[in-house]
């Protein structure tokens, strides 16, 4: 009896439809319980941000704070809209800036880094080991001290106060190349070799065979890079108000002291919701690839 109920529950949760081999029901149940308990712990910040946005003033300042909202209200949202309409530069401009900076930084990095990762992973190129080690090593150097030399280089190139000051260094991040190279290594050489015999050039192989086969990798990289660019307000480089991104403008609006705490809570929500939405879109695509791409040796 209990077994049937458990089976139904697991079926409802769509647990392991894919490979039914080697799975015991008891094991599934234990794992499910562990996931549920840990999941509650991990979800706390999301729940808190969501609830805060709907809290009326007195609840925001309640001490000790309560996680769940008692009397939800839209007032904070309305306040934020009023504040946004009062801004010096129209808010649409900030949105455009964010699309250029976050969108450009993400797409550009994925393209350039993947294109460089393919020869490193799959072509017999002299010097590739050295180049690759340098990429991995740079991941380990602390960013606080490199920010000053970085600033000097960008100023020297005359890129200060342009979008490029934020976008170009983002293109050059080490993480993307490393990630893409690791996934591309797994593509069987035979697959590439047969394409070469058919007369395909390396660029065609890269675009038509390699990239579709590592779709989970670049979708994951897209999440990392989007998150990084979203958190990067370009402070220090973008001085003109017209160039600043949405996140910056939102934080400005929110930092008006106690009176703006309600609006600030909504800003927190917006700043979290956008990367989360992007995350969910990418993650659901990661799932789709597994049914369509069969990588066989």
């Amino acid at each position: 009896m209990e077994n049937i109920a458990l089976g139904k529950l697991l079926a409802f949760l769509k647990l392991h439809k894919k490979h039914q081999l080697n799975r015991s029901k008891a094991g599934n149940a234990v794992l499910f319980v562990i996931m549920a308990i840990c999941g509650i712990f991990m979800a706390v910040p999301l729940v808190m941000i969501l609830n805060n946005a709907f809290k009326p003033f007195d609840e925001l300042f309640r001490y000790p704070p309560r996680i769940f909202v008692r009397n939800p209200t839209w007032k904070n949202f309305k306040d934020l809209v009023v504040l946004m309409n009062n801004s010096w530069v129209p808010f649409t401009r900030y949105i455009l800036n964010t699309i250029i900076l976050t969108g450009g930084g993400t797409v550009g990095h994925i393209l350039i880094a993947s294109m460089a990762a393919y020869p490193l992973a799959k072509l017999d190129i002299p010097g590739k080991k050295v180049l690759f080690s340098i990429v991995v090593l740079t991941l380990m150097f602390n960013g606080t001290v490199t920010s000053i030399p970085n600033y000097m280089i960008i100023s020297y190139l005359g890129l200060n106060n342009t979008y490029w000051a934020v976008i170009l260094p983002a293109f050059a991040s080490s993480l993307g190349l490393y990630l893409m190279k690791q996934f591309m290594e797994q593509i069987p050489d035979s697959l590439l070799e047969s394409a070469r015999l058919d007369g395909a050039g390396e660029l065609t192989i890269f675009l038509r065979i390699v990239m579709p086969n590592v779709k989970p990798a670049w979708l994951t990289l897209a999440i990392f890079q989007f998150q990084f660019m979203w958190g990067n307000t370009g402070s220090g480089f973008l001085r003109s108000e017209q160039l600043k991104p949405l996140q910056y403008a939102l934080y400005q609006v929110a930092s008006g002291g106690v009176a703006r705490q309600g609006a600030a809570a909504v800003v927190q929500l917006i700043v979290a919701v956008i990367p989360i939405t992007f995350f969910l879109i990418c993650q659901s695509q990661v799932i789709e690839t597994m049914t369509t791409s069969g990588m066989k040796e």
Partner: protein, 309 residues
């Protein structure tokens, strides 16, 4: 025509031949590596250079040889505390976080469809929602309204609230717990993606070959198949667990009580971006941390090569 064929004949060295044959490859690498050397490698080299100077960011740096390094190891008591704390952090949270990433990614991979994306979001939530760890400030608040103190008082385990972040012996353990809670980040998502690229046919083949349960399947099929991701995850884990700073500064303060929560990076920030503006000294700290991570990485990669064998 004749000249051209001569030119090709002159190049006999096998390496040069390979270089010429892979022209497209180099062209594909060019845009990235050009930017990479300019915006990533060059700043690192400059910083290492600055570590041998005195540099207050106003005047031109003055060369001072090994002075910063000597001061760091012989004269700086706080650095020694920070060094010890960082090692403790790395030794505990490094392996633990890594195993957590692997475990949760593997379990989540058992689910399919929307449920899987949802679970991934829940477990990745602390990494995506900005400074989410500030939630912990309420939990470990030192008065009796802090959630943890409230709970312990209710259970009669303590008589008076504990000042968690003001008591030396509790600082490190608390920070370690928070760090573990934050650990499902880059490595976790990479493992999830890695699990998706494993050929499902291998599992069927393994079942025929006598793999009996999910644990054997994990060890003999899954892990060997995702070695590249395991290596990547290890490097990312090293870079995060040796660079713990934000949670210490936000929760324990900087400086923390008797420097109980000081790490190499909080010490670095103290000099680099704090009030002291001693960039040369900060660069020396960064260089030491750099060397520490490189050594650890070499060691870890050696271990990982043995997985599944």
């Amino acid at each position: 025509m004749k000249e051209k064929s001569m030119a090709y004949k002159e190049i006999k060295h096998p390496v040069m031949k390979k270089v010429l044959r892979n022209k497209t490859g180099y062209l594909m690498m060019a845009p990235y590596f050009l930017l990479f050397f300019l915006f990533t490698v060059l700043p690192v080299l400059i910083s290492i250079g600055l570590s041998f100077t005195k540099f207050n960011m106003l005047e031109w740096p003055q060369f001072c040889g090994w002075e910063n390094y000597l001061k760091l190891f012989l004269d700086d008591d706080i650095f020694m505390i920070a060094f010890k704390n960082t090692l403790i952090f790395a030794l505990i949270t490094g392996p633990a976080s890594y195993l957590m990433c692997l475990f949760f990614a593997w379990v989540i991979n058992e689910f399919s469809g929307k449920m899987r994306a949802f679970l991934t979001l829940i477990f990745y939530a602390p990494s995506i929602s900005g400074n989410a760890f500030m939630v912990w400030a309420f939990i470990i608040s030192g008065d009796r309204y802090g959630y943890l103190n409230g709970l312990l008082l209710k259970l009669n385990l303590i008589n008076s609230p504990i000042l968690w972040m003001n008591t030396e012996k509790y600082v490190m353990p608390t920070l370690i717990v928070v760090q573990l809670w934050l650990s499902l980040g880059t490595g976790f998502l990479t493992f999830i993606a890695g699990l998706q690229t494993i050929d499902k046919g291998l599992y069927e083949a393994a079942a025929i070959d006598g793999v009996k349960n999910r644990w054997q399947e994990l060890w003999f099929v899954t892990l060997p198949c995702m070695k590249p991701q395991l290596m990547f995850g290890a490097v990312m884990q090293i870079t995060t667990s040796f660079a713990v700073a934000d949670i210490s500064i936000q929760l324990a303060g900087n400086p923390s009580v008797n420097y109980a929560g000081a790490t190499i990076v909080t010490h670095l920030m103290d000099y680099g971006s704090g009030i002291r503006y001693e960039m040369g000294y900060a660069s020396a700290i960064a260089t030491i941390l750099f060397l520490l991570m490189i050594c650890t990485n070499g060691f870890v990669q050696k271990i990982l090569r043995r997985v599944g064998s």
